[in-house]
Symmetry: C2
Subunit: 333 residues, 2 copies
């Protein structure tokens, strides 16, 4: 298995990326890496060159570059070269912490989508809170598309179910449709039609509509939605969590003397709590429905998150989830 | 000013409703109330009958009744009678904590919409966190409609701006469009078209696209979105906040001995913090775009929230925000 790594993408690149690769090499000694970027800088952080090939390039895509234009113009950017390596069969998957839009464009236009999948979707594993029985849930589309029709949502249900089974090892993932109410009859024209399609799809275990209020309770293993709504929901969850954590921090640091002493005493427990909210250990966001895994972590990523994302890519390759998807859709025709 | 009150709607009715009316009567001694429901029960809680008329009825709409069907069949339900009182000019506004769908239907089919407004929207004032300069922001549509087109979003922008000016006394409210990115070119077909319409509307101060991540930071005074997305965003914010607060509670009650002592000491400060999140003091959700204020609080509402919602209705009537809206749309034609 060979992973093409965009060593130059992200705010802490190449340091955090290469340090993450170092850790992943310990986890999976057999994994091979193609590292795209400035050779000299990469070598500064790389602890061991076994199973590693560095492909030097000076060019990279910046976080504020216009996605489609930049992958066309910057033909030797680290991300673009990594995508071409997958296209040409030199690597099996891409990892990047760079410009999300450019990575989506590289995935769609260079790696290419599975023939029968109309609109690949962005999938992440999000945290479940207050329910130790469940590790997280998979949601898509988180924003690869600005709008989707009901047929796309059906494909997301199948994609998400394959991911949960193969990568997260859930035997019979509960697939739900995000809607504006839990009753079967609820929804927009698109979600009503999608409800019918999902109800009649034999390859998934569809449990009906769910509301955004219940997502973090673990109401489903796979949650399907259009890219516009998914993007808004993900950002609402992130924004609320960040704001509340900082409100808590501000409250405790501006507390009464009594409160300040208390804050010191609860500090370790509250730190433990923030771990529940950190879902980087499930890996990054997958642009799912392409011919190979194309996976993205946050731009501000640290070495540990890079390591977890490489573990996730390893699971995707080991389980051959993409090959199984292709076989499923070929059979259906 | 006369408010028609559905005394039987909500989990704690009529107790919480009537106790809230008692408080509101102290705030606004000149306000008149028409209370619809079981006379005997209402009288049990009512402290003073001045400016109050009780209209007895045994029928009420339950929280699980099918909205449109129930308002047609239960012709003497407390909510339906209250809506007819507004329609017939006997009252100026309705208050209810009952079945949301039934109240929306009563608003649309009995009170009726302002002629030029195609799709009244559900508006609430939501909290701004970590920014003492700003009290909250108004958002609509929070789910009165399952889908909206760009023209509806333009009307929401105008409606929201009128509300912020007249009820919340913001001189020049910053109106923003919720979108999947902040760049002008971002969005679905609907939001792209809405962006153009909002940019060219002289009666509002449009500041462009905002993302859901920034809502609680107070990035705008009025946030416009379609009913499906608005519903998902509101429920995501509520679900995340509830889950985090209960995670914090669980963390502290399962803490180490050291942590438990700390938890006792920070308790008062953390309680203060939850007040920031409570937005019931801004009132309830308005179905805005109707011929009169139709306002809803949570089913689990307590007397204080009823009081705040009546204060909000008082502001709407005092400022004649509905009359001003009608004049604005009449002028435009």
């Amino acid at each position: 298995m060979k992973i093409a790594v965009d060593a130059m993408g992200g705010d802490n690149a190449p340091k955090a990326i290469i340090e993450g690769v170092n850790l992943a090499k310990q986890d999976f000694p057999e994994l091979e890496f193609l590292l795209y970027g400035k050779e000299e800088e990469i070598k500064k952080y790389l602890t061991d060159e076994k199973n590693v090939t560095i492909i030097h390039t000076d060019e990279k895509i910046n976080s504020d570059d216009e996605p489609v234009k930049s992958i066309r113009k910057k033909k030797t950017a680290s991300m673009v070269l990594a995508a071409h390596a997958v296209k040409n069969g030199e690597a099996d998957a891409i990892f990047s912490a760079g410009n999300t839009g450019a990575l989506l464009a590289s995935g769609l236009f260079i790696v290419g989508r599975i023939k029968q999948i109309a609109r690949p979707g962005l999938l992440s594993t999000l945290p479940v809170i207050n329910n130790p029985e469940q590790n997280g849930f998979d949601m898509l589309d988180l924003g690869a598309n600005a709008e989707n029709d009901a047929e796309h949502l059906l494909q997301y249900a199948i994609l998400g179910s394959f991911y949960a089974k193969n990568v997260r090892r859930i035997v019979e993932p509960r697939v739900a449709l995000l809607n504006n109410g839990t009753e079967d009859s609820k929804g927009s024209l698109v979600t009503k039609k999608a409800f019918d399609l999902l109800s009649n799809e034999p390859s998934i275990h569809f449990i009906g509509n769910v509301e955004a209020r219940d997502l973090l309770n673990g109401v489903a293993d796979v949650v399907v939605t259009d890219g516009f709504t998914g993007n808004a929901v993900l950002k609402s969850i992130e924004g609320t969590a960040l704001n509340l954590m900082s409100l808590m921090k501000n409250t405790l640091s501006n507390a009464s003397l009594k409160g300040k002493i208390g804050a010191l005493l609860v500090k370790d427990d509250l730190k433990e709590m923030t771990k529940v909210l950190d879902y980087s250990n499930a890996g990054g966001a997958v642009l799912f429905g392409l011919k190979a895994p194309v996976v993205k972590t946050h731009g501000a990523t640290e070495a540990q998150a890079v390591r977890y994302t490489i573990r996730q890519i390893h699971k995707m390759l080991e389980s051959d989830v993409v090959g199984k998807l292709v076989a499923h859709f070929d059979e259906e025709r």
